[in-house]
């Protein structure tokens, strides 16, 4: 029995063999036991990839720990695989390292097909070379002792194995199985309980090692969910009752949950004919007094651009959730990237100042929705909330939010409008103005996307355009003044400051902590507001010898041959911060489509401050990521 403070488990199979179910259950059970948990879905790129395909891995990565877990971790410690081929897609993304223990279905060794037998043998040899420790397990044979069709049961048998490996209480799992298969009847429940028990006992009898992760139960209640569900719940808790969307990966699941939940909480999901109509519909609802939300990803953001410009120009409150994926074009639909920061800030004809915020955690995916609706209404314009595929599908637990009345939108104001108040009575200092809502007597005005004056009258004269642009821009300064400087993680000064935004924050924090524990003088800061930026950034940057961003979008290293310094392309936050602070901010980024593991970040940080690489998995993960 080995005691560890955290462990990474993966369970992978061909699509349809149920590893995702088993993985999710393991995550839920772990959370219920009081562990910190972060789970990541492993999704094949196709709906039904061929069996035993390298591209077809389906399953889950589950990281558990004594402390709260804020990212997916480094190479896996334990892997359960239903065939050897699906492991290669995980090897491609650097999921395993030397010493990773793999429990592998061994039926392929005796498959009637000679080709399969050979592939299996080759893979075993290859895995050994790579330093993995493989345990061949007769999964199918053992399952067939309990059920007639092993394909429908191997997952729960493996869940049993896994729970035995970590000394989980089988009774707790029994209750979970009952809940999971409740709708399928007692027969199915009993079969699964038998499978679980068989896997559990097989592990106890045949595996001569095990792990113990100490539990440190937290006080108070927690909820567990992924970022898209958190966003959906946040939308509801913000009192928004219309989500207008068009299906796009990886954003769509926000609407899946909402579509069901709105039936209970009052609201509707409108699936529009296209991305443009989706935002147009939301804008119509917002104009009519009910701030709406539209949910999309990069390609949809591109299509929505003209309407976003209209919302800025005519000052319509609106929440736009952009769950980023890999770009450009159709790019990497299911993968992680932070490539839409600059598009969110600048992709509109002319100058279209708007609020852009980015949650760093899954809890923030929930809470930012409430903030976003309020900001949209107070600042009379669109608010873009940038999340990404990592937050969208990663699952973790956070403190149970207690829904408050003050989070909800007030009822649509239908009181009489003061006739002498113009529809854009811009305050000279703040740029803010009250908004008449259709139905308010004496408030009639014609909203237009053309240049207009305080009366919303079309105006082409240069003074009015200059003034109205200035007033709309001013709103961002008003918000900027109300924000607090971001909190620096680590010392207030030092050799290196890492700046990040969005989902990378958790992995960067962990990497920084590891290097600090080794004597490195570095800190990190994660930005939640990208437009306007939080105040005090330059002052923070000035306290560090070097400042760099770490992001998941494209950039070029300073020392790459063939890249002239004058033409070097920086990653997006670095570009923005260099322009706004005039600090010589460097960057390091990857577009490998996966969340940055803390070990990879750690290796880069050590390189930056001339600390020796830590012996361990980090270097190999870097190799897996490509350079």
């Amino acid at each position: 029995m080995t005691t560890v403070d955290q462990h990474v488990v993966e369970i992978v199979c061909d699509s349809g063999e149920g590893a995702q179910t088993a993985g999710q259950m393991f995550g839920t059970i772990s959370a219920r036991m009081g562990y910190g948990v972060w789970t990541v879905e492993i999704i094949p790129a196709e709906i039904e990839p061929p069996n035993r395909s390298r591209a077809g891995a389906s399953g889950n990565r589950i990281r558990i720990g004594t402390q709260p877990i804020i990212n997916m971790g480094d190479s896996a410690d334990i892997v359960l695989a239903f065939n050897e081929q699906v492991l290669y897609s995980r090897i491609d993304v650097g999921a395993f390292g030397r010493g990773t223990r793999i429990f592998l279905e061994n039926k392929w060794a005796t498959d009637p097909d000679e080709g399969i037998r050979k592939d299996y043998a080759d893979a075993l040899a290859d895995f050994e070379k790579r330093g993995y420790v493989v345990y061949e397990v007769p999964m199918e044979v053992e399952c067939l002792k309990v059920v007639a069709d092993a394909r429908r049961g191997k997952n729960i048998w493996n869940l049993g194995l896994l729970c035995a490996l970590y000394q989980y209480d089988p009774a707790l799992v029994g209750a979970e199985l009952e809940k999971k298969f409740q709708r399928k009847g007692t027969k199915v429940i009993e079969a699964n309980k038998d499978l679980f028990k068989a896997g559990y006992e097989w592990c106890q009898e045949n595996v001569d090692f095990g792990f113990q992760v100490p539990v440190q139960p937290s006080e108070g209640q927690s909820v567990v969910m992924n970022g898209n569900t958190a966003a959906a719940l946040g939308i509801m808790a913000a009192g928004m009752d219309l989500c207008s969307m068009y299906p796009i990966t990886p954003a769509t699941s926000v609407s899946h949950y909402l579509a069901a939940a709105f039936q209970r909480t009052g609201g509707v999901v409108h699936q529009a004919e296209d991305e443009i109509a989706a935002i147009g519909f939301a804008i119509g609802a917002s104009y009519a007094g009910k701030t709406a939300v539209t949910v999309t990803s990069g390609p949809g953001l591109a299509l929505k651009t003209e309407f976003i410009g209209l919302a800025v120009m005519s000052e319509i409150p609106l929440v736009i959730v952009v769950v980023q994926r890999g770009g450009p074009s159709t790019g990497l639909p299911t993968r992680v990237e932070q490539g839409d920061l600059l598009a969110s800030l600048y992709a509109a004809p002319g100058d279209a100042p708007k609020i852009v915020m980015a949650p760093t955690t899954i809890a923030e995916c929930f809470h930012f929705m409430i903030t976003a609706r309020k900001l949209a209404e107070a600042y009379r314009g669109p608010v873009i909330v940038l999340t990404d595929a990592n937050l969208a599908t990663g699952q973790t637990l956070f403190e149970r939010p207690v829904v408050e009345e003050s989070w909800f939108a007030p009822p649509v104001d239908q009181s009489d409008w003061q006739p002498d108040v113009k529809p854009y009575a811009w305050d000279d200092d703040t740029g803010l103005s009250p908004r008449p809502i259709p139905g308010q007597r004496d408030g009639s005005y014609v909203l237009t996307g053309l240049a207009h004056d305080e009366n919303s009258r079309i105006a082409y004269d240069s003074d009015i355009n200059q003034r109205s642009m200035n007033r709309r821009s001013r709103k961002l300064h008003t918000l900027h003044k109300s924000l607090k400087p971001p909190v620096v993680h680590g010392d207030d000064s030092g050799d290196l400051l890492v700046v990040s935004w969005g989902s990378t924050g958790g992995a960067i924090e962990e990497a920084v902590d590891r290097v600090r524990a080794d004597g490195g003088k570095l800190s990190c800061v994660s930005l939640r507001f990208l437009s306007p930026l939080e105040p005090g950034l330059k002052e923070i940057f000035d306290r560090f010898k070097k400042v760099m961003t770490i992001e998941i979008n494209y950039s070029e290293p300073a020392d790459e041959p063939g890249i002239p310094e004058a033409n070097r392309r920086y990653s997006q936050l670095a570009w923005l911060l260099r322009a706004t602070t005039l600090v010589d901010i460097d960057c390091w980024s990857r577009v490998s489509g996966i969340p940055l593991p803390p070990g990879v970040i750690e290796a880069e940080l050590r390189r930056r401050i001339n600390l020796k690489p830590r012996s361990g998995a980090d270097v190999r993960i870097e190799a897996g990521l490509g350079s």
Binding site: L242, H270, A277, P438, V446, L447
Partner: protein, 317 residues
Amino acid sequence: MYGLKLDWDPEPETKCFVLQDYQGLEPRWCPGCGDLAVLAALQRLVRDEQIPPEKIAVISGIGCSSRFPHYMKTYGFHGLHGRPLPIASGVRSRRPDLDVFVITGDGDCCAIGTSHWIHAIRYNMNMTVLMLDNNIYGLTKMQSSPTTRLGKKSNTHPRGTILGPLDPISVTLSITNASFVAQTVDWNPPHVLATIRAAHEHQGLSFVRIMQRCPHYTPEIWTEYQQDPSCIFLLDHPDGIPVDAGVARLFENKVDHDPSDLPAARDLAALDEVIPIGLLYRNPDAQRYDLAMHEGLDMPLDDRITAAQAEVDRFLI
């Protein structure tokens, strides 16, 4: 009705709306523009119906006719080229209490906004859509539109258009769940008013194509129809657009057409050389998407909070 309401209203202080209450800025359309006739008709309609101006939303796209909301003294939304229908649908989805009118043109509706046109017809949300069709792009200076006649010379087709026009009525009639399809001509104001009145009364999306000329770029397109009214079929039916004697006198070809007869409507729309005016099709039983969208709108705040709380609880561990 306006006159009656004055006499019947038991509350003497209740305001009675007059035309000026609906008149916004001075229209800046060219003299002779068909848009002016439609504007006058719409203002008369809402005056006759005594709809409070603040309860009206006039939503348009971009183009000459889309300046329309500025000339109404109601709430208006002069949005993006081709996109008035999604905006109007959004308004309608949250505000069943508002009267929603959409003003669009042949370019706005049948070119850049085509997908929204098709789907708005299918959604059949309660609103009145007026498609002001002058067969040309006027605001951008005489480019061919989808409804431009074959051979018409324009700045984008100096030797004449290559393709014949798309027929908006045939298209609309072929869209599943269409519920009200009518056509009228700008040179007969009483028929314009009667048509949009019927459109407004209809519960669902009413699509009205108003054929009109552009005094600058297509002044001649309807001349033959004006000079020879036999080119026009005036659709007449007890369930159709009421035709008064004055209108009837102008059109010698009265055609009896039952607006519930979809195949007959499609046949009429497909006729070459002849324009049917009046109500081609009406189906009061077509499904209405807005009714489904309004479910839950009246849920009290306390219930919403309780329900949201319960949703959060589903994720408790």
